[in-house]
Symmetry: C2
Subunit: 443 residues, 2 copies
């Protein structure tokens, strides 16, 4: 009997996790990962901090070298191999070896598409001073180029834009941030929460809100918006990412979110073909609608799901709610579920509250501010969204709220959570509990 | 029509929360709180830090003065009034005014017993140098006496003993901690987790484990154990607390845990008589057995439940699981649900794992160690217990695990939680998620 072959396209989080779990479940399967760059198991999430200069060894951006992974997991890794064509009907893919341009044809039994996302672009003349911060393989090059500039424009005030603004400010750069929405981080926060951040960020950088960039000229040195024209030394574009579906010819595979449609085991519409990570669409648990969340924890769990399923072990991927965290200066900023804005668009009748509190007992030194917004569905009293801005203990609280949303918990459930209290790190009435109480007692 | 009267015995967390919510629901009710000391709305939880010297204004130990509370909530507060007798059959209580020894008789329509807990004692000759750290009204006095000592014995290595050990060590005292169990914090941790703490604490203090104190003589200067005799300048006894049920004559009111039995609205077996806070027993959600958890968040939520119910609004108190957090030095130590030890005693077939991780991405500076133990029921795959030792982001994680336990979530539910990730404060595979995965994939 021939060995089964699993081919994986893309050596990021999603692809490598798929490989690991398929290997664990099927010790004898033939597993090949094709990665077009020279890096696997890489962490794009580290790029803003590498640029900031918080660490300088770019090897740390990869959890494994190809050699280590091959050895430890017995998986065949082909770096510098780009998949250039899929023939899903005949279960064949074609790879180009970027070292010598050889074309390799491979028949697969299982295929996992894990090609990630790619940055959206803006109209430009030439790209000599336009930068994208996206793939770790370009970390050093991008960093050096950006660090040569003094006046830098960042287009887009989402997570990446805000993280890069901080990285540049800490390096003494003059930052101009142009954002088309009325407030920063508008996919994470509602206006009421974002206003805290707008004020805070404006202290360090020049912030242009409500402004849309029409064109970048002079190779990145001139930015033309619907409201003016700015001259800088170079421009970083961080207006978001989109699923990297270049290889997909069959448009039926693509969903509303522009990512590849998947079922609860990450299967696409083609038998034995999976899609995982930033290239994959799933279903939002709150709305029941297609959703796409290009974040590392999602990529990992999708890979886990697909790898296990290929290996004969079935864990259902439960769908998405949209959890994210970022920071600016001393503040962590996190959200889970729907913003109130989004919830209303989906037809929910929302009820919401914002609680400002200290993170510690009033008498305990070093307490920090924390602001929590909770959003519930007025009809069911279920939690459907949460936003937190704070200096400590933001992560665990947002995860707790994410769990509550995923499991359809109500305000009652959340309020009566038997939470932990000690003066040195919390409040007897924890701000999460206070916020839940404030909504619960409105009914 | 006469106004209804609600009498509340005890002006701690539980009593004052009951008063607040009854008032909110029934603006015209007559509400009287009897408190035998001169403080209400006080925070015993702050005592270790007051003693340590982290703040010096003992007024901060009370959230409200009696006058403030009376004014803000329109509740009649009688400080220095001790309830000395209950006549529940006739709906009457008797209070002694401690200023002039007058006895007051009061008829009530509703009664809430919120007398808290009291420290357990050890056999002694005289108490001149034996100290209990329990009520904020004695904060200054106890602190001054303890600070006069150089060599201090602490009996009992539970939460309070460990917190006080730190407070004294930071003040240059020589601390001898005698604990009858084989490891510290044995109600919170299993041996495998506690061993980290034992080692850490032993660097600062003299630790005697597995030793039972038989008697304290010389007014607190000589301690006789089953294994030796120790001479010190004075002794703090922190061997635990018990429900303060001195007023209860009808033994049928008392449950297995020695606290007052309550139903889901905090009602006792007497009509219109409620028990809340450290004096009240409830039901453990995991075991279905009577349980008692003398912690501030529980006291608050019991008070909320009773106050609302008296006010005609019904929220069911869901029962207990046992959540707690403490710290020593740089480490927070937290637990929720059953320890593995306890779970086995209750007949669970347990499966458990311990994960050691860093709190941040490997390349992000300042990461701290975190150790997580998860315990699940092998039959149902439900999470039934968790323990965490770590330097940051312990609180939110333990609360998240508490919610999972309260809502009967399985390892699958926990693993697939869409958690937040950013390198500066977490891991792409969060240690909680890793721990859940490690157990989930054993099945
Ligand atoms: C700068 C930045 C910061 C981020 N910060 C965070 C964060 O803090 N937290 C968080 O949760 N998420 C963050 N993310 C998102 C996170 O990195 C992604 O969700 C995650 O990397 C997705 O993993 P993936 O495997 O699906 O895709 P990727 O990691 O993008 O990997 C896809 C791989 O496929 C390869 N590939 C593509 N096409 C082909 C082809 N045709 N042939 C061969 N190989 C191919 C690519 O070279 C790439 O290596 C960040 C992303 C960026 C860019
Ligand atoms: C030193 C210490 C540290 C603690 N640290 C923490 C912590 O970090 N986290 C946490 O969650 N919990 C902690 N706790 C526990 C927490 O303080 C209690 O759970 C909480 O105070 C219980 O509230 P309560 O209202 O039921 O009782 P109490 O706060 O004890 O209040 C009861 C009140 O009733 C009064 N009273 C008693 N009998 C009578 C009577 N006959 N007539 C009139 N009045 C009477 C008492 O004087 C007292 O003021 C700590 C406790 C102590 C002692």
């Amino acid at each position: 009997m021939n060995k089964e072959t699993l081919a994986i396209i893309g050596g990021g989080d999603a692809g490598m996790t798929t490989a690991s779990w398929a290997r664990r479940r099927k010790p004898h399967m033939n597993i090949i990962v094709f990665e077009k760059t020279n890096l696997i198991s890489h962490a794009p999430c580290g790029l803003p901090y590498f640029i900031e200069g918080l660490f300088d060894d770019e090897k740390l951006l990869s959890a494994y070298t190809p050699e280590e992974f091959e050895k430890e997991r017995n998986v065949n890794i082909r770096i510098n191999h780009e998949i250039i064509e899929l023939d899903l009907d005949n279960r064949v893919i074609y790879a180009k070896n970027r070292n010598n341009n050889d074309i390799i044809k491979l028949e697969y039994d299982y295929l996992a598409i894990a090609t990630g996302s790619k940055p959206k672009k803006i109209k430009y003349d030439n790209e000599s001073r336009i930068f994208y911060v996206h793939h770790p393989s370009l970390a050093r090059e991008v960093k050096e180029k950006i660090m040569n500039l003094n006046n830098v424009a960042i287009i887009g005030g989402g997570i990446l834009g805000v993280e890069l603004a901080e990285a540049l400010v800490r390096n003494g750069k003059n930052v101009l941030l142009i954002h088309k929405n009325a407030y920063l981080l508008n996919k994470m926060l509602d206006n009421d929460m974002a206003s805290y951040i707008n004020n805070y960020v404006s202290k360090d950088i020049k912030l242009k809100l409500n402004e849309e960039v029409l064109e970048i000229t002079d190779g990145g040195r001139v930015i033309i918006t619907n409201n003016g024209k700015y001259e800088v030394d170079g421009t970083i574009v961080s207006i978001g990412v989109e699923p990297n579906t270049e290889l997909i010819n069959d448009k039926n595979m693509i969903g509303e979110t522009k990512a590849i449609k998947t079922d609860e085991y990450m299967r696409t519409s083609y038998k034995d073909v999976y899609a995982v990570g930033d290239v994959a669409e799933s279903t939002n648990i709150i709305t029941g609608m297609p959703d796409w969340q290009p974040f590392a924890p999602v990529a990992g769990k999708m890979g886990f799901t697909a790898g296990n399923h290929i290996g004969g072990v079935n864990y259902r991927f439960p769908g998405l709610i949209g959890t994210a965290i970022t920071k600016y200066g001393e503040y962590f900023i996190a959200k889970t579920g729907l913003t109130e804005n989004e919830a209303k668009k989906y037809g929910f009748k929302t009820i919401s509250t914002i609680i400002r509190s200290n993170t510690r007992a009033r008498y305990y030194p070093g307490g920090k501010e924390i602001i929590i917004k909770l959003i519930a569905d007025e009809n069911t009293q279920k939690l459907i969204g949460a936003q937190i801005i704070g200096q400590e203990e933001v992560l665990g609280r947002i995860d707790l709220l994410a769990l509550a949303i995923m499991k359809s918990n109500t305000l009652y459930d959340l309020f009566y959570l038997e939470h932990a209290y000690m003066p040195a790190i919390s409040r007897s009435w924890d701000p999460v509990i206070l916020a839940a109480r404030s909504l619960l007692t409105k009914f």
